[in-house]
């Protein structure tokens, strides 16, 4: 088809539409602004306005009805550059807020309303979805049963994440929370997972830096960013995660797998608190409004693993929460811990002692991910949590300088080695077979003669050796997802072979 004929049929279609369009006078429900400020307007009139309805102002800026009172409506404004004054006319649209959805979003950076921020032109949407949408029902869901590999050995072994799960990443500032989420996104390359990174109330510079990381690692082929920075008005920060989830739902209901990172929900709660207080809703604990639990539960409930009859798509949610001074019993952290299917707890102390990712194994759990772990990983990681717990307990004991028996010393040595092999540089996710072989080497005490400081180098060499000399081992694990006796004996002999070439 040539361009001209395409234009011709397109024009004809438009003329047809205009001819067939029936112009009818419209009756609108209107109101007048009483007062406006702090991204909130109080409007009189609007007698038929519904909760959550999209309202249009005289200057064509938009707002959402959030408070319905006897003779006025509290409206949150979505544009920061509005021209609204006292007395401005407001028209109710009878619709709820919707965002553009579709494949065209992938690789883009958009704001909370789906408008592009990356200067790459208009987004050709394939449809619209309401920002607030009901979560899938019980009958539509199926338990989490497929792994979502993060590429971080510690997480995949001890707190495995499954597709459709909600796993909280929690910790103080500067403990590597975002890094874990970003590494997980980088690791989804070629795994048919669409990734969404939602920045809520963050510095524009750090979001820019992050997008650069995505670009460097070619992650934008399957990732897009929904961004509401600290300079955006509170209503946009409040909307961003819901809008991003609406975009994710479009993919999920098409049967695709989606990973969505909310970075972070403590700032989201703060934005909602700001809005609520300005709307004069009564403050509760820590000045948060009464429905702050519902705020997050209705968001995270939208993450799901759909049953095969419903397309089998999934949304995996990785919400991030920042704690103050390691206080995970504060209001927002406890709320979100109780909503999610587990948490990864990061500690500043571990981070500064060089253990990165700085995951506190004792306080981190994954309530449903175990069912999604690959058999190979399950086999090599079954003792890991116990061994690390023993190590932690004994190392506190050993600090007193008491004489230790050989059994205790062995547990301590082994724990130190495990800690070493679980350290991982940032933005270097490891494939599952490499993780399995690493844990296999450690579990079979092949690292016992190596001094702790040299463990990582030794392991690198060993892994390199296996990859060069026996690549079939990795392939076998990759293909079968299991670790059968044959592969195990191949691994044993490969490691022995390496040890003979290398003197310690």
């Amino acid at each position: 088809m040539t361009v001209t004929s395409a234009n011709f049929s397109f024009n004809r279609e438009i003329y047809k539409l205009i001819d067939n369009y029936r112009l009818a006078p419209k009756v609108y429900n209107i109101g007048f602004v009483e007062d406006v400020g702090d991204s909130i307007a109080n409007v009189s009139g609007l007698s038929t306005c519904k909760y959550g309805e999209l309202l249009e102002f005289e200057d064509s800026s938009a707002g959402i009805a959030m408070n319905l009172e006897r003779d006025r409506v509290g409206v949150v404004l979505l544009n920061s550059d509005h021209q609204i004054v006292s007395g401005s006319k407001v028209i109710s649209t009878g619709q709820v807020l919707q965002v553009k959805v579709g494949d065209a979003l992938i690789g883009r950076v958009v704001d909370a309303l789906g408008q592009p921020l990356d200067g790459k032109g208009r987004i050709k949407e394939s449809g619209y979805r309401p920002v607030e949408f009901e979560a899938p029902e019980i009958i539509e869901r199926t338990p989490v049963n497929r792994p979502l590999e993060t590429g971080l050995t510690m997480i995949d072994a001890i707190v495995p994440i499954g597709r459709g799960q909600r796993e909280l990443i929690i910790g103080d500032r500067q403990t590597g929370k975002t890094t874990i989420a970003v590494d997980t996104i980088l690791n989804q390359k070629g795994k048919d997972v669409i990734c969404i990174y939602v920045a809520i109330g963050q510095k524009t510079s750090s979001v820019a830096q992050l997008i650069q990381v995505f670009e460097q690692h070619k992650a934008l082929d399957y990732t897009f960013v929904v961004c509401s920075t600290a300079s955006d008005p509170a209503p946009l920060q409040y909307l961003a995660p819901y809008a991003a989830t609406a975009m994710a739902e479009e993919f999920m209901y098409q049967g695709k797998d989606v990973l969505i990172v909310y970075d972070d929900l403590s700032k989201h709660a703060v934005a909602y608190r700001e809005m609520s207080l300005l709307l004069r809703r009564p403050p509760g604990r820590e000045a948060y409004p009464g429905d702050v639990f519902y705020l997050h539960s209705r968001l995270l409930e939208r993450a799901a693993q759909l049953s095969p009859e419903n397309g089998g798509g999934s949304i995996t949610a990785l919400p991030i929460v920042e704690t103050m001074e390691g206080d995970i019993s504060a209001y927002i952290p406890t709320n979100i811990i109780s909503i999610t299917d587990g948490q990864i707890y990061l500690e500043a102390e571990l981070f500064h002692s060089g253990i990165r990712p700085a995951i506190n194994v004792g306080l981190s759990v994954s309530r449903v991910g175990g069912a999604a772990q690959t058999p190979a990983m399950k086999k090599v990681s079954s003792q890991l949590r116990l061994e690390l717990a023993q190590y932690r307990e004994l190392s506190v004991f050993a600090q007193f300088g008491a004489d230790l028996d050989t059994a205790t010393q062995a547990i301590l040595d082994h724990g130190a080695k495990l800690t070493e092999i679980l350290k991982q540089d940032k933005h270097k996710p490891l494939p599952m077979p490499v993780q399995v072989v690493t844990l296999f080497i450690a579990a079979n005490k092949y690292l016992a003669p190596v001094p702790p400081a040299e463990v990582r180098d030794y392991l690198q060499e060993l892994l390199h050796f296996i990859e060069m000399q026996h690549p079939e081992i990795f392939k076998q694990i990759e293909n079968t997802k299991g670790l059968d006796e044959e592969t195990e004996s191949m691994l044993h002999s490969a490691i022995e072979e390496f040890r003979q070439t290398k003197e310690i």
Binding site: L17, I30, G45
Partner: protein
């Protein structure tokens, strides 16, 4: 604002105003009219009655057509 009705026209025309008032006589019983001239509505008229706005203006209908076309054309794009 409560008791008055506002009628907005693009140009002042006694004859039209009388017709419109007759058209709206039932609801306007015992209430006073306020006439506004606003050329930007292009033609037709708008009646504002408390929080109801009856848009019979050319500008409003063009706007409706614009939105309808936007919606229709984006649907056309989606089908391809």
């Amino acid at each position: 604002m409560d008791k008055t009705l506002t009628l907005t026209l693009s140009v002042f025309d006694e004859e039209n105003i009388r017709k419109i008032k007759r058209f709206y006589a039932k609801a306007a019983k015992g209430r006073s009219w306020q006439i506004k001239i606003d050329p930007s509505i292009l033609g037709g008229f708008i009646i504002t009655d408390r929080d109801q706005l009856l848009d019979y203006s050319a500008k409003g209908q063009l706007e409706q057509l614009r939105l309808a076309l936007l919606q229709e054309t984006s649907m056309v794009g989606a089908k391809k």
